[in-house]
């Protein structure tokens, strides 16, 4: 049985690199990524599972890092927005003007990237379901939808 008590040094696989971090069992992944690794792409918003600004990928699937303990992520592959290097969705967000203030952008980028990887030919209803996990206060929804459809159709 695996167990963790008090402060410990553990290894996290983030963006294909192994990092040593000091964690308590009650540490939440969002805070570990930001405070210990300086990966501030995952944003604190509601910290309650509603907004999606903190989204990262765990083994390729989107997860809201505000509702995951760091200890749960040990042994898994974590991808933050800093780990997306020139993937099509980044170009699509620029070309389709899919952001304004940018606070929600990293979360949306990761959800869109995971969708395109896991479901390369999704029906519209699946695209909508995935995008509804995230909130954009600047209401760029139309443009974000255009960006993801542009990469799914091969336009970008």
């Amino acid at each position: 049985m695996y167990s963790l008590k008090g402060k410990n040094i553990v290894q996290l696989n983030v963006n294909k690199e192994i990092h040593d971090v000091v964690i308590r069992p009650s540490d939440v992944l969002l805070n570990t990524l930001r405070d210990q690794l300086g990966l501030t792409g995952a944003k604190p918003g509601c910290e309650n599972g509603d907004c999606g600004a903190c989204t990262v990928l765990i083994d390729g699937w989107p997860v809201k890092s505000c509702l995951m303990l760091t200890v749960e992520a040990l042994g898994k592959k974590i991808t933050t927005v800093e780990g997306l290097k020139n993937v099509p969705i980044q170009k699509a967000f620029i070309e389709k003007f899919a952001f304004q203030c940018g606070y929600c952008t990293s979360g949306f980028l990761l959800v869109c990237h995971a969708l395109a990887t896991i479901h390369p030919y999704p029906p519209d209803i699946v695209i909508d379901e995935w995008l509804q996990s995230n909130i954009c206060r600047c209401t760029s929804y139309e443009e974000i939808g255009n960006a993801v459809r542009a990469i799914l159709s091969g336009e970008i």
Partner: protein, 277 residues
């Protein structure tokens, strides 16, 4: 950030889980079983719940089953709502799981966590109530399999140290005509104003609700009224609204009067839809 410390345990067997839970409890550490952790983390962060240890059940093979065993569908308590929708063995349960929280959250929320939730909706219990599902519970005396009504009365009622391992559903229910109606106040993704779900079996309609009262439920007398062919659809709906008026809640999502209005229309629509099936 969670302002207090706790210990983390991830047992590999059912026995290890119960043993460590009871040991931690004896030591006064107020342990909790941990599924997806979404509710426990949210509550801990705002200070409405505290615990000295969590026992994460996601590594226990019996809690991860998802598939058929002879004539039953087995659903482990640590499978996620996304596992349920992706496998889609039971369309009504998939519909239910697919309308709880949002798509990303569905990948983290577990079936058992939703059933054992302190949040009043527990929507995945509705398909279980409708199919007289059986629940397997682990405790200090080993495993016990019980009919859902024995342990789910408004909420999951387990003894200290017990946790839910899996639910099993008879295959015959999986292909029955069904309905799923989730009405929310505004947004598609929200807690239910009313969720009404049902199955039609041998010409008889079964129905269960969440959001209508402060707990999810299925009641025999309501189903009798629903199936009373001596009455018009709207008369049946009126009778049901009347019978439930004592338990229908008023809250931020809607007043009791509004819920009654929505309930009546929902029932009439369901009966219209099912009449030819």
């Amino acid at each position: 950030m969670i302002s207090f410390d706790f210990e983390y345990y991830r047992p590999d067997t059912l026995k290890e889980a119960v043993d460590i839970f009871l040991k931690l409890d004896k030591e006064g550490k107020s342990p909790v079983y941990y599924g997806g952790g979404t509710e426990l983390i949210s509550m801990a962060r705002v200070g409405s719940q505290s615990f000295g240890a969590v026992v994460d059940i996601k590594n226990i093979p019996e809690c991860k089953v998802l598939g058929f065993n002879a004539d039953t569908l087995c659903l482990g308590s640590a499978i996620t709502l996304s596992d349920i929708t992706e496998a889609n063995y039971f369309p009504l349960l998939s519909k239910t799981a697919g309308r709880i929280a949002d798509h990303t959250m569905q990948g983290k929320i577990t079936f058992g966590g939703n059933l054992a939730s302190t949040i009043i909706y527990r929507e995945t219990v509705l398909p279980l109530l409708l199919t007289n599902a059986r629940l397997t519970v682990a405790g200090k005396n080993g495993l016990a399999e019980v009919e859902i009504g024995q342990v789910f009365k408004e909420r999951l009622r387990l003894q200290k140290g017990e946790f839910l391992v899996k639910a099993t559903i008879d295959k015959k229910f999986l292909i029955a005509p069904y309905f799923h109606v989730k009405k929310t106040k505004n947004e598609k993704i929200d807690y239910p104003l009313i969720t009404a779900e049902g199955l039609k079996l041998d010409g008889y309609v079964r129905i269960a609700f969440s959001g209508l009262a402060s707990y999810p439920f299925r009641e025999a007398n309501i189903e009798n009224m629903l199936n009373d062919s001596s009455l018009e659809f709207s008369q049946r709906a009126d009778k049901i609204v009347q019978a439930l008026s004592g338990v229908i809640t008023s809250d931020l999502y809607g007043s009791a009067e509004y819920r009654k209005y929505v309930l009546k229309n929902t029932i009439v629509n369901i009966l219209e839809t099912l009449k030819d099936q």
